[in-house]
């Protein structure tokens, strides 16, 4: 018995177990922190939009309503789980899980600060695209499986919207890939740190603009929230969901927003680094840990999400498609050509 154990427990297997253990620890840390962020993203959204509309937002539960997300979570957890009579049960159960999983899986390739990333893969950016397009299944399936008009219309709208804007978003990031010469997110950030302006948002302003618009559409946020347009479709694809399954959709949506903000921070705003000319001017800033800069950028982008939601009305569906196909995609293609030309000329 002990012989077999001795064979199995070599230094190599122990090392491997250590590695796996560290990965699990990282996953636990990232998941925990992200879910906390998601919970408080809902709180800050209500707070920011409330103040923009000269209201107070949540204020009764805890100090300035700070325990509101927890109260909401407890409420959703204990609510009755209703399933429509003619729903396609397996798909109805599966849809929120796909949505949530696709959002959470994207977290695994995001480098939060130098060296802290769960899976440092070479195709990080492509992996993010793959996962975000997978999220569309959750939406379409939930729309179809609920056996309801409103859900179905929401699902259909979302399907065409996500496909259309996926293209624009992918093309907008091609410029970044060309500038960095890599698909690995850590390498993209390092390339930005080497670059004189310190952020790709400045030379890639066209790409950045296309990315922002496409990111709003991909996450079904205002002004492109047609799949869940409250005034027409009740709640769109998750109209028939209640209780914890509804919470999964909610969490998935906010996780997707956080991920889009992270992509913007990593690919366009320099991730965990700040431009060199700033650190040259103020060397004290070198001591600030990278995660602080990363989080500041992510929070700023999230604030922009809320800000736009409080400002702009919803677009009409044909306008949405026209923006996607007639403006964003040609603009992104032009950006690629421009970047390529300038790169070969050695200007950028």
């Amino acid at each position: 018995m002990s012989d077999i154990l001795n064979i199995l427990i070599t230094e190599e297997t122990l090392n491997m177990l250590m590695k796996i253990g560290i990965i699990f620890l990282k996953i636990a840390v990232v998941l925990g922190i992200t879910l906390l962020h998601v919970a408080y993203a809902t709180y800050w959204e209500r707070k920011v939009i409330g103040h923009m509309q000269v209201r107070l937002g949540p204020i009764e539960v805890g100090w300035h309503g700070f325990l509101q997300p927890i109260a909401d979570g407890v409420k959703l957890f204990f609510k009755e789980d209703i399933i429509p009579a003619n729903a396609d049960k397996p798909l109805f159960y599966l849809a929120p899980v796909i949505f949530m999983v696709s959002a959470l899986t994207s977290l695994s390739v995001l480098p939060f600060f130098d060296g802290f990333v769960i899976a440092d893969i070479n195709i990080g950016l492509l992996f993010l695209f793959a996962m975000s397009s997978l999220g569309a299944y959750g939406i379409i399936l939930s729309g179809w499986a609920s056996n309801s008009k409103y859900s179905f219309l929401g699902g259909l709208r979302s399907a065409s919207q996500v496909i259309s804007y996926e293209i624009a978003m992918g093309l907008s990031l091609v410029g970044v890939m060309m500038m960095a010469g890599s698909l690995n997110l850590s390498d993209i950030v390092r390339a930005q740190h080497q670059y004189p302006t310190g952020m790709f948002a400045i030379p890639q302003f066209l790409g950045f603009f296309v990315f922002i618009v496409a990111a709003f559409a991909e996450t079904n946020r205002l002004p492109f929230d047609l799949p869940e347009a409250e005034s027409e479709l009740v709640a769109g694809y998750f109209t028939e969901y209640s209780g914890f399954r509804f919470a999964l959709f909610f969490l998935g949506e906010y996780t997707a927003m956080l991920i889009m903000s992270s992509i913007a921070a990593l690919c366009f705003l320099g991730g965990w680094t700040i431009p060199k000319f700033i650190t040259d001017a103020m060397p004290l800033l070198m001591n600030v840990p990278g995660i602080v800069w990363f989080l500041i950028k992510v929070y700023a982008f999230m604030f922009f999400y809320y800000w736009v939601r409080a400002t702009l009305p919803r677009y009409r569906y044909d306008q949405l498609m026209a923006i996607g196909w007639k403006i964003l995609i040609p603009l992104a293609l032009f950006n690629i050509v421009l970047t390529g030309t300038l790169r070969t000329m050695g200007v950028l």
Partner: protein
């Protein structure tokens, strides 16, 4: 599309203006009133929960004439009287179904004795319907609660209508001006 409009469109001038507006309003103080904690001050003369007025000696002013019940548009006032000693009219029951009341205040105006009043009290929600059926005793205790002291007197001075001055000739009317001018 002129050049100016085109430039405005590609630089999102309108959207930026909108964003600036929302950002500005974010830093203006909120107008929210946190209701159960901060109550809205009731304007004098507000028509709230009913009360039956008492006179100086603490007796009910109501004589049971039934004018209020006759006037009531939603017919929610019930009055039952009987023949008392030496043929005085005794009001046995005076009841108001508050859930049906529309707070028009006609009963107050109809009352010749200033007996029925509408108090400034408005927070009387409950879980069942019984508490909203006001009996005579409840209505009288409402008077003690919501018109205590000088409040009752002031109410009749300021808000109880019609007073005798309401029946004077309105001076501003054009018809009368003509007569004045003719003289």
């Amino acid at each position: 599309m002129t050049v100016r409009e085109f430039i405005k469109t590609i630089f999102f001038v309108e959207i930026l203006k909108g964003l600036a507006l929302t950002l500005r309003s974010m830093f203006t103080p909120a107008v929210t009133r946190r209701y159960p904690k901060v109550k809205r001050p009731v304007k004098p003369g507000f028509r709230g929960l009913h009360a039956l007025a008492k006179d100086k000696n603490g007796r009910m002013k109501c004589v049971g004439c039934g004018l209020c019940g006759a006037y009531c548009p939603s017919k929610c006032i019930y009055i039952y009287t009987s023949d008392g000693e030496d043929h005085t009219k005794v009001v046995d029951r005076y009841e108001i179904e508050v859930l049906r009341c529309i707070y028009c205040g006609f009963c107050v105006e109809a009352c010749p004795f200033g007996a029925i009043t509408l108090s400034e009290h408005y927070e009387y929600s409950d879980y069942s319907r019984e508490p909203f059926y006001m009996t005579k005793e409840k209505l009288l205790s409402n008077w003690d609660k919501y018109f205590a002291g000088e409040k009752g007197k002031n109410y009749f001075k300021k808000f109880w209508r019609p007073l005798s001055e309401d029946f004077r000739t309105p001076e501003g009317q054009a018809v009368f001006n003509k007569i004045k001018n003719a003289k």
